[in-house]
Symmetry: C2
Subunit: 198 residues, 2 copies
DNA sequence: CGAAACGTTGACCGTTTTCAATTACAGTGG
DNA sequence: CCACTGTAATTGAAAACGGTCAACGTTTCG
């Protein structure tokens, strides 16, 4: 439970001077460009697209507010995908050279960085496992259970269901129907802004 | 492209003296146990299950041969989930204390560790994005494209389609049908053990 | 105040799941 | 060497579930 004055990404210390704004469709970097920084999304959505040898392309990830992306830039000479704004966005760059120097010099910060990545790995694996659940109702329920805190377990919604729906791989309609069914069967109780499990 | 005599997990150096075998159903550790090590799956499957406050449980991840799991143990006092063998399995423990000491002492190994995690993050994000593709055919094709190497792009299958099917979130039947359709439409050519994209 | 996003519900359609049956094949032990 | 067992691969038919389209009330925010 130790405290740090600054984390590796500068999330806590507000040195926002170098934030970059992007319009919809504007690209931040392209596959093959020299990797100079990794980024954190402040607002908006950044789509990462990989171009394949045969000319086809593939969406590899859509980074949303709070997500960091292109972490691998730290270990590569060039970017391995394009980064294009899906919506008006703001990103905070973390210069590669500076970060590397800091991580190499200070094992504490390096472990901090690793801890962050390990947490992401845990989170992503859980999301993947949720998608293995076929039933919309069970899927929503599983998500709720993962988020729930306290006894009785309760979830505080910090964003619209439409966002959550796409995160768990359902349409918003399917999600609303599932929520309705769960409530009708008494497995959850919905109040504005929160959901209580039972 | 530097070389290391040993990576953080001991994957390259073969110090197998302390590998542990598990029968189906046997558990490696339980939620709440003191976190003493993280592990790599040598053979078999290890299911990670989180127990929730209300008594329900949730599969958080199924680690397969080659996967490491419980990386977060490095940063926590206790395990946050159970680890149970789904099949006869062998795992290689990486003692927490020793690893921590090594990472703290040697920034190079710490960065190595971080690189490994970053690669996993990239891989998991891609898998997640693949699951956003609704059509079975397009999903299989996307997976093939991600795996493909060379020109013409070609994939070498190292495990049965049934395994791949569940990785990409389809039943084996749906996968076979998709493969059949892709082949009939001339988008792929299947030969024993490999698939060629076109 | 108006537009845009959110929340909700209905009906229909299409795809995938499910269940089932069959062939091929690899490894095992008699 | 050959039945025997289990897994992989394949195909069919029917059912179910979620997707899509559509319409509408509500809330939010500029």
């Amino acid at each position: 439970m130790e405290k740090h004055t600054a984390d590796w990404s500068g999330r806590t210390t507000a040195g926002h001077s170098d934030q970059r704004s992007l319009d919809t469709g504007e690209s931040l970097f392209r596959q093959g460009d020299p990797a100079t920084a990794l980024y954190r999304v402040v607002t908006g959505r950044i789509r990462l697209v990989r171009h394949l040898e045969d000319g086809a392309s593939l969406v590899v990830w859509v980074a949303r507010a709070g997500d960091t992306f292109a972490e691998a830039a730290l270990f590569a000479e060039q970017y391995h995908c394009d980064a294009v704004a899906e919506a008006p966005s703001v990103v905070a760059p973390v210069p590669k050279a500076r970060l590397r120097a800091r991580l190499e010099a200070d094992p504490v910060q390096c472990l901090d960085f690793a801890r962050d990545l390990a947490a992401q790995v845990r989170d992503l694996r859980a999301r993947l496992e949720i998608r293995n659940i076929r039933s919309a109702g069970e899927r929503v329920l599983a998500w709720l259970r993962l988020q729930a805190k306290g006894d009785p377990p309760r979830v505080t919604l910090d964003r619209p269901w439409t966002h959550i729906a796409s995160e768990i791989g359902l349409t918003s309609e399917a999600t609303y129907r599932a929520l309705g069914a769960l409530e009708r069967s008494g497995r959850i109780v919905r109040r504005p802004g929160t959901v209580e499990l039972s």
